[in-house]
Amino acid sequence: MAPLSHYLVLSGILFTIGVMGVLVRRNAIVVFMSIEIMLNAVNISLIAFDRYLGQHDGQIFSFMVMAVAAAEVSVGLAIVIAMFRNKPTINLDEFNLMKW
């Protein structure tokens, strides 16, 4: 059985890929997908610790994360559609309204 560190390294790599995706990609959908990658990276580390410590809190929590992610995706996609209707693009560089 692979030791805990392998899982954690995998989780870290996935999380970093997600972060970089959020920061550098311009397509709103891709940013979304990157966020999902980050969430799942966290899920991996939760399950790994769950197994390592022999408790079941981690599994329950990862379900929680999945549920929240599903809800988030539904809201997020709705926002992306609203953005697209407002301005026929989902290029995030076109949206700079988050300032005074």
């Binding site: 972060v19 959020v22 920061l23 995030l92 560089d93 700079n96 309204l97």
Partner: protein, 655 residues
């Protein structure tokens, strides 16, 4: 009856409030009744108080009525109190008496004015302030009155506020007075520092034993007081505001700028005689300034064409005589001249007002002439007052001016006397010139104007004042027999023990190990009234007055071509006519630098310095904000980047 003292200033104050606030509502006739009534009531109350004062027990000469403690701070304790003694009673009689007459006259003179009520509100307020000035029992009360009369003077000079020259004249009077007032206030503070009190009775009583004779302290105090007096009483170098003050209505010129307010300086010097006697240097300067002003202003009066301006310069000159008297220590003579001057100068001003009224507002004497037959009452009262001011026996001015000249020769020196005599000659000359140009000679009035005598309400006042101007001398004759009424009345005020003062000063100086000068000769008894000298002097000054009148007669009736010749050939005439260019010099030396300095202060210090600092602070903060704005780009991913960077930063810090 002395307990009624506090009522004297209250009447005009109440009258002023009624006229000012309800004047338009109650109509002109009621305003006139309230305004005149309040001052007449003051006059009657003064008579009652006078009766009470005469019945004071033997040995008491001052009655003080303290209303309440006005200011109490530390060891400074100032009461709102009134002081009744010979001096304040004389002043009260003049202010309320002449004031009543001029109020009555003003009803006739101002009746056509829309702002009738405003005029009387200020006029009554003036009387109130003047009464406070002469009744106060301490320097601060006097100062309140002093400022109050200055303020009312400003209001009334600028009464025709739609006329630029009147507004400018008001401002000038106010600002020039300010210079003197400032000095006066400094003097009051200095007095408090030395004496620990500013009550007249305390200060005068302790003057001899608190300060050292001829010391710097007392010289500075008296000089500051005198500067205050020069401002209020229009003496060199602060006299320039008075001729301009003639922009006000004529009753104002008569009451404020001839009879009462401008004599406040003389009153103050006499009130503080104990201080002034302690400072011989100041006394000498007072006499010099007084004599100089008497002569200087008189010469300007000879070359003016505006009837009121001639009288204004005459006022400046006559007040100069009063200061000359103060300067040589003849305080009684100063007050005597003050009283007679109030009578004849009020009569002259009101007479000129009657003339101006009669020729519909014309003030230039060249456009008058031959008015004698149109306004006989005005003419005769005017002539009597002119004879009084010129010093024709037995009218009032003769006695008072003569007393001043006598004392300036006996107690002063021949230079002061010479100034006075020259001034007297010129006075007789320009006053006769005024009468001749106005009432005699060729009829020069604008053909569209029909001169007429003024209404009875005005001429009756003129007659009363002319009678007073004629018999006012009774207060001070016959001087050579010692039965001098005013001297008797003022004696307690002027009581000053020079011997004690000198003893004390010598003692103090010796204790300090300094050498005390020999003051002994000051105590040598002055020889008693030299009757022969006095009669000779009287005869001489009478001749001088007659010579002045004769000169005017020659110049303006016999040989009318002479003045023109002088005008054309002598360069000096232009100089005199332009008032020695004193106004221009003041403009160039004081007014212009002040105005330009203020401009610089405004442009540089205010606009750049103060505004610059405030705006600069705002700008700096704005600049920082501009820099911080860069971080708030509006791109969500930018914000996410900051979050990540912050997280990494904390990770680095944590490990």
């Amino acid at each position: 009856m002395l307990s009624l003292t506090w009522l004297i200033p209250m009447y005009p104050l109440v009258g002023s409030i009624i006229c000012g606030f309800y004047g338009l509502k109650i109509g002109k006739d009621k305003v006139a009744k309230v305004a005149c009534g309040s001052v007449i009531l003051s006059f009657l109350t003064t008579l009652l108080v006078l009766g009470g004062y005469a019945n004071l027990p033997e040995g008491e000469s001052i009655y003080e009525q303290v209303m309440f403690t006005w200011i109490a701070a530390g060891n400074l304790n100032i009461e709102w109190g009134y002081q009744i003694d010979g001096l304040s009673l004389v002043m009260l009689m003049v202010v309320s008496g002449v004031g009543s007459l001029i109020h009555i006259y003003a009803v006739g003179y101002m009746y056509e004015e829309y702002s009738f009520y405003r005029f009387f509100a200020y006029f009554n307020l003036f009387v109130f302030a003047m009464l406070i000035l002469v009744m106060g029992n301490n320097f601060l009360m006097m100062f309140i009155g002093w400022e109050g009369v200055g303020c009312c003077s400003y209001f009334l000079i600028g009464y025709y506020f739609d006329k630029k020259s009147a507004c400018d004249a008001g401002t000038k009077a106010f600002v020039v007075n300010r210079v003197g007032d400032f000095a006066f206030l400094l003097a009051v503070m200095y007095i408090f520092k030395l004496f620990g009190s500013i009550d007249f009775s305390h200060v005068m009583e302790h003057a001899a034993t608190t300060v050292v004779f001829e010391s710097e302290d007392i010289t500075i105090i008296t000089m500051l007081l005198f500067i205050g007096a020069t401002g209020k009483s229009a003496q060199i170098p602060l006299y320039t505001w008075l001729p301009d003050a003639m922009e006000g209505p004529t009753p104002v010129s008569a009451l404020i700028h001839a009879a009462t307010m401008v004599t406040a300086g003389v009153y103050m010097v006499v009130r503080c005689n104990a201080l002034f006697v302690m400072a011989p240097i100041t006394m000498w300067i007072v006499a010099l300034v007084g004599g100089g002003t008497a002569l200087f202003a008189a010469t300007i009066g000879t070359a003016q064409y505006d009837i009121k301006r001639v009288l204004a310069y005459s006022t400046v000159s006559q007040i100069g005589y009063m200061f000359l008297a103060c300067g040589v220590g003849a305080f009684t003579a100063a007050i005597f001249h003050l009283v007679t001057h109030a009578f004849f100068k009020a009569c002259l001003f009101l007479g000129s007002g009657s003339v101006i009224h009669g020729v519909h507002g014309e003030q230039d004497m060249r456009k008058m002439g031959g008015l004698k037959k149109y306004m006989p009452k005005t003419y005769w009262t005017f002539v009597i007052s002119t004879a009084a001011i010129a010093g024709i026996v037995p009218l009032s001015g003769f006695f008072s001016k003569d007393e001043i000249l006598y004392h300036s020769l006996m107690d002063g020196n021949i230079m002061f006397w010479g100034m006075g005599v020259c001034g007297a000659f010129i006075t007789a000359f320009y006053m006769s010139r005024l009468v001749i140009m106005t009432f005699h000679g060729k009829y020069n009035v604008d053909p569209e104007v029909h001169p007429h005598e003024s209404p009875a309400i005005m001429t009756n006042v003129l007659i009363v004042l002319a009678i007073l101007a004629a018999i006012g001398g009774l207060l001070g004759i016959p001087i050579m027999h010692g039965a001098h009424f005013l001297k008797h009345v003022l004696a307690p005020v002027l009581e000053f023990d020079l011997a004690t003062a000198i003893d004390h000063s010598t003692h103090v100086l010796h204790e300090q190990g300094r050498h005390a000068p020999h003051w002994g000769h000051l105590l040598e008894h002055h020889e008693e009234h030299n009757v022969l000298t006095e009669v000779l002097l009287m005869g001489f000054s009478l001749c001088v007055a007659l010579a002045g009148i004769a000169t005017a007669y020659l110049f303006y009736i016999k040989f009318p071509s002479w003045p023109e010749k002088i005008m054309q050939t002598q360069g000096g005439f232009e100089l005199v006519r332009n008032k020695y260019y004193v106004d221009e010099v003041y403009d160039a030396t004081f007014v212009k630098p002040t105005v330009e300095g203020s401009y610089i202060l405004w442009r540089q210090a205010d606009a750049k310095g103060i505004d610059g600092t405030v705006n600069g602070v705002a700008k700096i903060i704005g600049w920082f904000s501009q820099q911080a704005r860069v971080f708030q780009s509006g791109f969500v991913r930018n914000y996410a980047l900051f979050m990540v960077m912050g997280f990494i930063f904390f990770l680095i810090v944590a490990f």
